[in-house]
Amino acid sequence: MTLSLDHVRKVVNGQPHIYDLSLTVKPGSFNVLLGLTLAGKTSTMRLMAGLDKPTSGRVVVNDRDVTGVPVQKRNVAMVYQQFINYPAMTVFDNIASPLKIARISKTEIRERVHHEAERLHIEHLLDRLPGELSGGQQQRVAMARALVRDVELLLMDEPLVNLDYKLREELREEMSEIFRERDSIVVYATTDPMEALTLGGNTAVLDRGRLVQYGATPEVYHRPDSIPVTQVFSDPPMNILDGDISDDGLTFGGGERFQPPDHFRDLPHGRYRIGIRPSHVKVNPQTDVDLPIEGNVDVAEVTGSETFIHMRRGNSEWVVQDDGVHEYHLGDKLTVYVDPAHLFAFGDDDSLVASPGARSAHAA
């Protein structure tokens, strides 16, 4: 099925939760809703599922207006942050429960439950009760229950957020495999950019109740339409500096002038907001055209293989993500180097006006 939200708005007690949102998701597609807490991810999912009715606008499935059709009459399944299973039923009965309601023959139920359990690596737990399982296993059961039925729309609301970091990583890997072979639409909400990138598919970036960009996940990451996207879909968020382009070159709030990179050549003179990802700022110059930028260190965080250096320049805060271990302390003066080929430029209205060239073909 094709699901469209057509200019939907949602206002609750006078508070707008969703502003005029239009989005069409294709059959069999995997879609990530990416946004911070309160960006409207859950509200959007509830509208898609039919749990809520939009204040205005239409929900369209296969050219049929289903606005106001309640969730029971739609073929939808949902997985939540909390591990929701029937505590008194065995894992088998939990997974089988949606099939029993649909009055499917016993042998088929058995077959389908086993198949789903196998895919989620819980076939050895079928006789246990959910209370005896670990958090990760419980969430696998909840997912199997959602997947066992051939739903047209599967909604997952931050399903991994309550799991241990390492478990999250493993399940995330598996999930992209599991969903690759399905024809239902999957919508997956998360706050974590890395999760969106790992899962792939398409990404819709939400910012305070507005859809700010929708497209293929890597495409959205590499060509963010506007500044809000760079803040949500980049961890740490993209560094943004005020810049100025004139005949004399590029400046960052006065001081030194630099030769603007090639992809900035067609930009008219004027003020811009210049963006650079933390991973493209280094403590040592990488090329001879690297732009040096001075600042003061707040904190350096070492992850073992990398160092995140949080620094301050005037009133803007910067993050530098560099390989290796670098020791710095509060107040240290530091010059970092930016490769101009990776600069983004945004206009007055925060929308993208210039971005680094198309990436090489292998990224596909």
Partner: protein
């Protein structure tokens, strides 16, 4: 959270509306009818608020009302702190807990008149353990002395209902996360400070419900004191006074007005508690 509106759903509610109107509203209206009219052997005449004036100026009613407030007040003052106290003394988990809870719930399962009968015998100075025991320290006779009668009545009520407060408070205390106790220990808080700053605020909502339930029930109490003392020694409370009017004197108009006033007092006070409860809820949000 908003749910999809389904107009057909109203039809489903219809049977309930019918049942409620026949079980509650219609009988109540009959009482209202009786209170404004003098009805006797098929004839009736409108008397306005005359019965109400009668009730309100009747000394017997006033005395019963006074006793009723005194009784409910004393009962609440004893049962609530006692119930919370017992709940605080219980362990937070373990096998003992279920045993404690079952034992304590037993009095709640006993029918009202039976409670009265139990205490009637239990309190007798000659053969009752309670009465005989007390009589060795003091001159105790609940059938002959006002104070003794009241004391027995209150002890009986406390015995019967404190467990309800215990159960509610215990459930409330269970919802306090372990981390709060641990943090308080590290902060060096005394037992009283823990109660005052953690447990009591978390119990507020539950305690309001306990007070509301206990007030309503104790204010309507009838069977136990009636079985125990039959209303002697100034133990005639509101409901018993009412039954005297209906059963012994067949004064239906007066009794109807009495009932309405009785009902309104309970409604008003329950409303006050209810508003208090709502405010507690808001504060906790």
């Amino acid at each position: 959270m908003e749910r999809p509106v389904n107009q057909g759903a109203w039809l489903m509610v219809l049977p309930v509306v019918l049942i409620v109107s026949f079980s509650a509203i219609v009988p109540l209206m009959t009482v209202v009818n009786y209170s404004f009219q003098d009805i006797l052997y098929g004839t009736s005449s409108w008397v306005g608020t005359e019965f109400y004036t009668d009730v309100l100026t009747d000394d017997a009613f006033r005395r019963a009302l006074g006793r009723q407030f005194l009784f409910s007040g004393i009962v609440l003052l004893i049962e609530v702190p006692l119930g919370v106290g017992v709940a605080l003394c219980m362990p937070r988990r373990g096998a003992v807990v279920s045993a404690c809870l079952v034992l304590m719930a037993l009095p709640l399962l006993i029918p009202w008149p039976v409670v009265g009968t139990i205490w009637q015998i239990f309190g007798r100075p000659d053969i009752g353990l309670f009465g005989w025991g007390l009589n060795t320290f003091m001159d105790y006779n609940y059938t002959g002395d006002v104070f003794d009668a009241w004391m027995t009545m209150i002890v009986m009520e406390v015995w019967h209902w404190t467990s309800l407060v215990v159960l509610l408070s215990y459930a409330g205390l269970q919802s306090v996360p372990e981390a709060f106790y641990q943090a308080a220990r590290i902060d060096g808080a005394s037992r009283f400070a823990i109660f005052r700053n953690i447990e009591l605020p978390k119990l507020k909502g539950v305690l309001m419900i306990a007070v509301l339930l206990r007030f309503m029930d104790s204010f309507k109490i009838y069977a136990e004191p009636f079985t125990l003392t039959g209303g002697g020694n100034q133990t005639t409370l509101l409901s018993q006074q009412l039954s005297i009017k209906v059963i012994e004197q067949s004064d239906y108009g007066y009794a109807a007005a009495y009932s309405i006033i009785y009902f309104l007092i309970i409604l008003l006070l329950s409303y006050v508690f209810y508003i208090g409860l709502l405010n507690v809820g808001k504060e906790q949000e």
